[in-house]
Amino acid sequence: MNANRIVAIARKEFLQVWRDPRSLAIALLMPLMQMFLLGYGASLDLKHIPLCVFDQEGSQHSQALLQRFRASHYFRVVQSVNSYVALGHAIDAGDCRLGVVVPYRFSRELSALGKSSVQAIADATDSNTATLAVAYAQAVVNAFASDVEVRWAGPGRALSSAQSLAVASRVWFNEDLETRNFIIPGLVAMIMALVGALLTSLTLSREWERGTMELLISTPVTGAELMAGKLLPYFTIGLADAAVCVLLAVYWFDVPFRGQLLTLFVTTLLFLMVVLGIGYAISAWIRSQVGASQVALLLTMLPTAMLSGFAFPIDQMPRLIQVITYAVYSRYYVSILKAVFLKGSDLAQMALPIACLLVYAAFIAAVASRLFRKSVD
């Protein structure tokens, strides 16, 4: 390793980045855009579920029940129909996600038996939304029932013991159950993986394709020096991106940050090493830029989006897929980020994921240097 040669390569690479302002701008704007889009757009808290109502009875009771749906901020009544066919059509066309049908016998049953039923037809294409929508509808209906009971019982009479068991829940770490607080820490990992891949995965294939690799090979620079020099500028950009992400997360989106900055810094350095190393290895392996870009998409962005636990919980995946996630480097960083942000864990508590990242970084460096051979063929 010769520091002079590393600096020379780094200088050249830096100039190249500098003279391509568009790519540089994208690398620096990426965190801003992703943060804003996902920070605001990624919400699984359902609000304003489009609802279609079918009141077969048209009585005071049925209207009172539907009024409760109108008043709830979970639902937005978009249509009021008067046949099953129309209701079916509204759901088929995707105009509404839930249809509530109040049957003919509703108030008769309610006054005679104190018991009646309402039908809820859910578009279960999106099973998650359907489950939550039905649960919210159930809550609206329950509130209506106890309201009726209070009115009938009159003041002073004891209520029946229908609600004999109450649930008092206390939520830890993410007290308001904000999707944002759960998504954003993981998003930092997603952005770093993206930027790392887009910066480095073409860096060697570009030289091959343009024919400048022959020139590089004829210089005394060694493989390790080339790697260090090439990655140095991108390392700086990656760190800048990480800083932007964390500042936005904490000051703009008010995601709680309960850990130490040092923990975050150390783990981010490690993760950057892995990410940039993978991009470099891809670039050393595949000499055409199209090919390298395809592989980078496949190996970096998509697994980070799907398998890192960033949005989809790993413990809900089938066993075999869970095993595969251990090979996805972002998995470790995502778990670290969530712990540092929300739980305030320190370095010692996260020794295991940190060790995994370390091993990964060493492994990738070894692979990258093996894949790059200083020969023309």
Binding site: A42, A124, S127, A145, A166, L177, R206
Partner: protein
């Protein structure tokens, strides 16, 4: 004109044929990814790890806890002896949920008063926490009802003391068992296709420019429209094969039902590919190097993915983001592919989506032809 287009076509296919890794890269990864991501993408919540603390030691408290042990939704991993142990189990991540029955629970119930089940939740994953709390609520409500029924039976039912009850009868259309895989797998098919086609197309013209062969083509009598047609047709075919291939995997491997008309899906896929090609071409004409094209792809594809409704419901997004989703072709194709797979709807319901994709695709392609004509002059 036709001859010139065919000439370009032949050249493109030859180039593809000579790229040895390309054939593998284009076929195997989408299938592998679909299988892995198909299993990974789920918001279902099963086996929530729970720690139980029973300070009442009564028949009632045991009965209540048995209902949790028996449920597939919960997995009671520990029985704590004191509050500190329960707290630690959640802190260390051994359990995501704590169920606490305080002393005096059964006495309150005997007196006909409302007793409380205390629930501690790790809210790090807000979505899972929300759904888990929903299940806790269901179990508690069932317990309440059963207890009330039992109590009033013991007292000898006076008619008036029965609670007013309105039952919500949910009916889940299209996905009766609320299988979230049925929702996500068609979405993964669409997203994979978009990523691959846009990336390949966007490299198409930039590569010629970067390597310097664009000048050679410019001196031939080929016109910009012909050039773009010749460039896009191979990717269109490839995209089509890809949709067919991964759809087959979705049907045969994941057993997602296909209830619609395959021709409608094919029509939708063609229009979607039109937008994808248009987008790729536009990126291609706007960029000078493949590095730029690659960076731009990341910059454009990520928002398309986030805003498409793939995972996060559009109706829950803030209004300005909802407007942005209107120019996202993936949004429309997701509705078409989920509609044809699960709902079995046809052109009568899907025409707005088809029209929107046609408009977006035509606009993008027209714009890129204009851009190319300008840059060729």
């Amino acid at each position: 004109m036709l001859r010139r287009i065919v000439a370009i076509l032949v050249k493109e296919f030859l180039q593809l044929k000579r790229d040895r890794t390309a054939r593998f890269r284009l076929i195997a990864p989408p299938i592998i990814q679909l299988i892995i991501f198909g299993y990974a993408a789920t918001f279902e919540v099963f086996g929530v790890t729970a720690v139980v603390l029973d300070l009442d030691h009564s028949q009632e408290s045991r009965e209540l806890i048995t209902r949790f042990t028996a449920s597939r939704r919960f997995d009671v991993v520990r029985v704590a002896a004191n509050p500190e142990a329960a707290r630690q189990a959640i802190d260390r991540g051994e359990a995501a949920l704590g169920l606490v029955v305080r002393a005096g629970f059964s006495q309150l119930l005997h007196k006909g008063q409302s007793a409380t089940l205390q629930v501690l939740v790790d809210g790090t994953n807000s979505n899972s926490a929300l759904i888990a709390l929903g299940y806790v609520g269901q179990i508690a409500a069932n317990y309440s009802q059963d207890y009330a029924a039992m109590a009033s039976a013991r007292r000898g039912a006076e008619a008036g003391s029965l609670p007013v009850q309105v039952v919500l009868e949910p009916r889940n259309w299209y996905n009766e068992n609320l299988n979230s895989r049925w929702f996500f797998v068609p979405g993964v098919v669409a997203s994979l296709t978009l990523f691959m086609v846009v990336n390949l197309t966007s490299f198409a013209i930039v590569r010629e420019r970067e390597v310097g062969t664009l000048e050679q083509i410019m001196v031939t009598p080929v016109r910009p429209t012909e050039f773009i047609l010749g460039k896009t047709v191979p990717f269109f075919l490839m995209g089509f094969v890809e949709v067919a291939l991964v759809s087959a995997v979705a049907l045969l491997w994941f057993r997602v039902p296909f209830r619609g008309n395959p021709l409608v899906l094919m029509l939708g896929a063609s229009l979607f590919l039109l937008s994808a090609l248009g987008l790729g071409m536009l990126v291609s004409t706007l960029c000078r190097t493949q590095q730029q094209a690659f960076a731009t792809n990341f910059f454009v594809l990520n928002p398309l993915f986030t805003l498409s409704g793939f995972a996060f419901p559009i109706s829950s997004m803030p209004e300005p983001l909802q407007w942005l989703t209107l120019i996202d072709p993936l949004r429309y194709f997701l509705i078409v592919i989920r509609g044809t797979f699960l709902k079995g709807v046809g052109v009568a319901e899907l025409w707005p989506q088809l029209v929107a994709m046609t408009a977006i695709g035509t606009a993008l392609l027209a714009f890129s032809v204009l851009r190319l004509r300008k840059s060729l002059d």
